[in-house]
Each structure stands twice: as C-alpha cells, then as structure tokens.
C-alpha cells in the first residue's frame, strides 16, 4: 500500500543563514513497504531517525530524494495543496497526549476539526453523530463532547487522539511512540484498542517505538534502524527468533523480558555515534562484535535472506 524506495531525508545545520550549512542525513536510503492491514514496527535508539522518517511519510518534512509511493502515486515533490486530500488517508498519533491535544479546545472540537476540513459537505448533526460513533469505538463515553483535555487521564487522552485520527477513515496511521508516555496498565488498554481497530477498520500501522517488548507484541513486521539506515527488515518471528544483523541481535538481547530471565547478556561496547559524524562504511562497525576490515572500508550491500527479510551486513547470519 505504501512503499518507500531509497528514501533520504536531510536536515541542515551549522550556519544560521544557510551558508556552509552542513547536510545531516537523518534518514538514508530507506526502502521497505507496508501492505494493507499490516503493522510494521520501527525500532531503534533515540536519534536514529525513526520519528524523522514518520514525519517525512506524513509530508511534514521534505524528502531529499527517493520515492514515497502511496497507492501508486509518488508523493515526493508534490505540492502542499496536493497533500491535503492525502492527509485523510495517512493519519498520525503522537507520543505525548498532554501536548498533542489543544487545551483550549473541547473534545468535540478536537475530534471534529479534521472532518470539517475534509468533509465540508457534512451537516452539524452528521458530524456530531460521527464524533459520537468514534468515541464509542475507542471506549469513551459520548457525554464528554463539551469537556476539555485536562479533565482526562493520559490513557483517555491517547484514546481521544486515536478517535481524532480514526474519524477521517484513514488507511495508514503512523503511531509515533503512541504508548510510551503511558503507564503499563494503560499501555495495555491502548495497545488492545489499536489491535481491535486494526481489524475493524482494515488499518495499517507504522508503529514507531523504542520499547522492544511492545513492538514485538503489536507488529507483523519489524524494521530495525541504526543511524538513519534500516539495517534489517523482516517478519516478527524472523527478527526476534532468527535475527541476522549483529545490531538486531544486540538490540533484542538488551530488552528485558519477564519470562526469559537470565543475567548473562551480551552487551554492546561503546556509545551510539552521532548522526552528524557517522562512521565510515558500515555505520555499526564501531560497536560491532564481528566487525572485520571490510566493514571499515566498504558499505554493505542489501542481502535478501527470504521473501520480505533483508539486511545490510557483510557477514549476515543466515
């Protein structure tokens, strides 16, 4: 449904007025696709470009090069006005429901705003009905229309944010750390809800998160990102049970599972390099336990392991 082909997103920094500005490739050569009613989890450590990629897919950041193909149409380079109708189809849920809901708007205003823009033909009554329907879908009471965000808890606010995304009948929702700010018991509510809605509305998700337990739980496929590049992409079982890239292995070994408790775990040495000063060739070689000479001199090529499972590594485990 949505396909990314060699996508690059850059920021510029270094000079206030634009001279000598240094290009920082926040997202580099990213290619993968999300099929309809599929959840792709995007994992990686902070600063690796996960959110940048999400924003680029929403048209909130310009794409430097590459293609972003949504239902057959390349969205790279289209005008702002052409994005407008697409925003119905690609919606977003942000991390912090305390800052993503306008405190001065009522719940009705928040949820209905998108409908008023995208469906000007709807009458006031129709909109009210639609908002109520969405509130029921996200398990909130329909009498909260005139209340304000501060009256709700984090989990309830996140459900309001979901209702706001859902009311436009989107095909793809980008969930940028959508449950990270919530407590464990509330997290479970929101995740269960996202799973149910996916079935009911045939939704696809790009689920961006740093919490591996959550990504494992919710995703059909997982993309692992390191310093702006996808290092491995595959189904959940492939990534969690038979990871091929040393970073994927280390990343999943660093997550703490309730039922698999052991005290011995391989830890990666070193710090995460900065995106401004990425290492040469393979970006991971500075921390990689199996790095050899070639990793310092030559960029790894894409290695296809199975259908829908690929990695970028000179020595992938097969």
């Amino acid at each position: 449904m949505i396909e990314l082909k060699n996508l690059y997103v850059s920021y510029f920094s270094g000079s206030v007025i634009g001279w000598n500005a240094k290009e920082i490739k926040a997202v580099e050569d990213v290619s993968f696709s999300i099929k309809s009613s599929e959840t792709v989890g995007l994992v990686g450590e902070s600063g690796c470009g996960k959110s940048t990629l999400g924003k680029a897919m929403l048209g909130l950041l310009p794409i430097a090069s590459g293609e972003l193909i949504f239902e057959g149409q390349n969205l790279n380079g289209i005008k702002k006005s052409e994005w407008l109708p697409l925003r119905k189809s690609i919606q977003v849920i942000f991390q912090d429901p305390y800052s993503s809901l306008n405190p001065r708007m009522t719940i009705f205003e928040i949820i209905s705003e998108g409908v008023e823009i995208h469906f000007p033909e709807f009458s006031k009554e129709e909109i009210i009905d639609k908002v109520k329907e969405m509130l029921t879908k996200v398990n909130l009471s329909v009498d909260i229309l005139d209340r304000y965000p501060h009256e709700f808890s984090g989990g309830q606010r996140q459900r309001i944010a979901i209702a706001r995304a859902l009311i436009l009948n989107p095909k793809l929702i980008i969930c940028d750390e959508a449950v990270s700010a919530l407590d464990v018991s509330t997290q479970a509510q929101v995740m269960n809800l996202l799973k149910t809605l996916k079935k009911d509305f045939n939704l696809s998700y790009l689920f961006i998160s740093h919490d591996l337990n959550i990504v494992k739980y919710i995703s059909d496929k997982i993309a692992v990102m390191y310093l702006g590049k996808i290092v491995e992409f595959g189904t959940r079982d492939q990534i969690t049970n038979k990871p091929s890239h040393p970073y994927t292995k280390a990343l999943f070994a660093s997550s703490y599972d309730l039922k698999n408790r052991n005290r011995e775990r391989p830890t990666l040495i070193g710090e995460i390099p900065s995106v401004i000063n990425k290492p040469e060739a393979c970006y991971f070689h500075t921390r990689c336990p199996i790095a050899k000479e070639i990793c310092r001199t030559k960029k790894p090529e894409k290695v296809n392991l199975h259908e829908d499972h690929f990695t970028y590594c000179h020595f992938p485990e097969k």
């Binding site: 902070s46 740093h210 739980y217 660093s254 703490y256 599972d257």
Partner: protein, 332 residues
C-alpha cells in the same frame, strides 16, 4: 539468586512508615504504612506506576523533601539501627551523600551544567571531609575508570553538555560512589536512556554492587527490567506496598490481584498472541484514597469487606507477603 544468608545484618528497616504531603488541598496521605527491609549487600527493587509514591518514598528516606511540605506521621526508618526520622538535620547531612548515596533519573538535570565534571564529582568527598583535594581527584579518576569512562583526564575537565546521557549517568554513578556509600538509592537511573546503553549500565551497576558490597534500593516502573537483577521486589500501588518477596515469589507466583494484573498487562514472549489484560479504571488520587483496600475499585475479585476494611499484610512465607483480604487465613 536470592540466597541471602539469614545472618546478614539488616541495613535499612522501614517500619509502618506513613507520610503526608501538605498541599493547598489539605494533607495528602501519599505513603501509608509501608514496611520493608534491606539487608547488607541486598538489591531491593521498588516498582509501581507513576504517582504511586515510590519516588517520594526514596526521597523521604533521607528527609530530602522540603520540611514544610512533608509531614512524617508515623513509623520509623532505621538505618543501622538509628531512626532517621528522629535525627536532626546535621546528623542526616552526615549520612546523606556519604553512607547513603543517590543516582537520579535525568543526568542532564541532576548535574550542574555550569560546573566541570571534576568539581561535581569531588564535592561530596570534600564536604564530608574525607581527604584533600588531590586525594579526591585521584579517587575520582579511579572511579571514572571503574565505570568505564575513557580519556578520564580530559573528561574530568569538561562540562556535562559535552557528554551523552549514558556517559553522564556513568559519571553520576561514580559521583555516588566517591564517599564509599553502604546504601545506593537509584531512582529510575536508566529510564531516560537507550536500551543498549541501559543494558551496559545495568551490567555495570551489578558489577559495582559486588565489588563495593553495596546494598541497592532500585526504584523503577519497569518490572521486567528489575526482574533480571533484583534479589527482592516490592510492588507499590497508591501509596502502599501491596506485595513483596523474592523475584521468584513475586514474578512467578504473584498473589496480590494488582501484581497479577500488572504482570499480565505486560507484553512478554509468553503472551504475544493473546490479548493483554487491562486493569479497568484509573489509579485513585491521594486526595480520595478509599477507606478500605486501595485497589478495590479496579479489582476483579473484590468483595464487600474490601470496601469497608483495610486488608492486613499476610505473610505467605519467610520473605513473601501481600496486602489482600483474599489471602486471609492463608498465613504461614
């Protein structure tokens, strides 16, 4: 893992401790009758969701809360058999940052951005009069190497904004260790940090604990994380400790309905294809904690008595206890 010999001395003994916070809306009973012990060399994890009182508890242990806000209502906090609550400020100063050290969550805000690393690290050493400035610097160098910092000399002369979060947290740990503490209180020390770096820090913390024979009170919301390293665990809910015991007791056979629900709401390799358990409702606010059991409104096993009467701590084994009416009569 928790083969702690019985003859180990109890280092910290918190007994029936209650604390109110004074606010505009009156006194809030944020901590109610909590009891726990830390033996020498033991690693105790205090877990709970946000707002349950775990951080307030950690600060209250050395009276770090503003005295006009915190009202110590009852109970005792015995550290090496002396009651901290009864101590005057001077005596607590001698303990705090000396025998009891802290590592906080956010290294960017817990370190002073305007002071060089070396001046911050050695401060406690000098304040507690443990030696000369040169001795302090030597010790700082030694500790920074211990916590895995490279280019120590250069790092000592730099400022916090030159370093990453993981590195600053290593420095915070070194800073906490400079006075040779007996008890280290770590309040969510890895929550703001990436997973691969978190794994490094946890590994480091466990090594240091052995090497310096530290006792650790580790405060976290992440029950999966602490289940990998603690000897014992205490689960806090709405100002009370609802269950405590060894890792095996609490994680593998939880007895309190809240602990059970919390563990089932957590995604793990066991329940990937199942629906996660949802705890209905929200955590009550300290403004209106129920009279009876605090978990009663959200509990699926609630009975009439739960609303009316506070449950007792039921001792299920030497180390395991839970606060629930359901367990009445199952006492060991």
């Amino acid at each position: 893992m928790s083969k702690l010999s019985e003859d180990r001395k109890i280092l910290l003994d918190v007994k029936d401790f209650s604390l109110d916070l004074v606010t505009e809306n009156g006194s809030l009973p944020v901590i109610q009758d909590i009891s726990f012990q830390i033996k020498e060399g033991e690693f105790l994890a205090l877990v709970g969701e946000s707002g349950c009182g775990k951080s307030v508890c950690s600060l209250a242990l050395t009276k770090l809360l503003p005295s006009n806000l915190a009202k110590y209502k009852s109970g005792s906090i015995l550290f090496q058999e002396e009651d901290i609550i009864k101590m005057d400020n001077m005596s607590i100063q001698k303990l705090r940052g000396n025998q009891i050290s802290y590592v906080f969550q956010e290294p960017f805000s817990s370190l002073n951005p305007l002071k060089k690393i070396k001046d911050q690290i050695i401060e406690a050493f000098l304040v507690h009069g443990m030696g000369s400035k040169q001795e302090a610097l030597d010790k700082a160098e030694y500790l920074l190497e211990k916590v895995g910092i490279t280019d120590v000399k250069q790092r000592l002369n730099s400022y916090p904004n030159h370093m990453s979060g993981g590195m600053l947290q290593r420095i915070s740990i070194a800073m906490a260790l400079i006075t040779d503490p007996i008890l280290l209180i770590a309040d969510e020390p890895t929550s703001a940090i990436d997973v691969t770096i978190q794994a490094q820090l946890i590994h480091l913390l466990m090594e240091l604990k052995e090497q310096f024979s530290l006792s650790v009170l580790f405060i976290s919301h992440d029950i999966a994380l602490v289940s990998h390293m603690a000897d014992r665990i205490a689960v806090m809910y709405a100002g009370e400790i609802v269950e405590s015991g060894t890792i095996e007791e609490v994680i593998d056979s939880p007895k309190h309905p809240y602990t059970q629900a919390l563990l089932n709401s957590y995604p793990s390799t066991d329940n990937l294809s199942q629906e996660l358990e949802v705890i209905p409702g929200i955590v009550p606010s300290p403004i209106d904690y129920p009279i009876g059991c605090h978990f009663e409104q959200r509990c699926k096993y609630k009975m009439d008595i739960c609303r009316l009467k506070k449950p007792n701590h039921i001792k299920l084994s030497e180390s395991h206890s839970a606060l629930c009416h359901l367990l009445e009569g199952k006492e060991k």
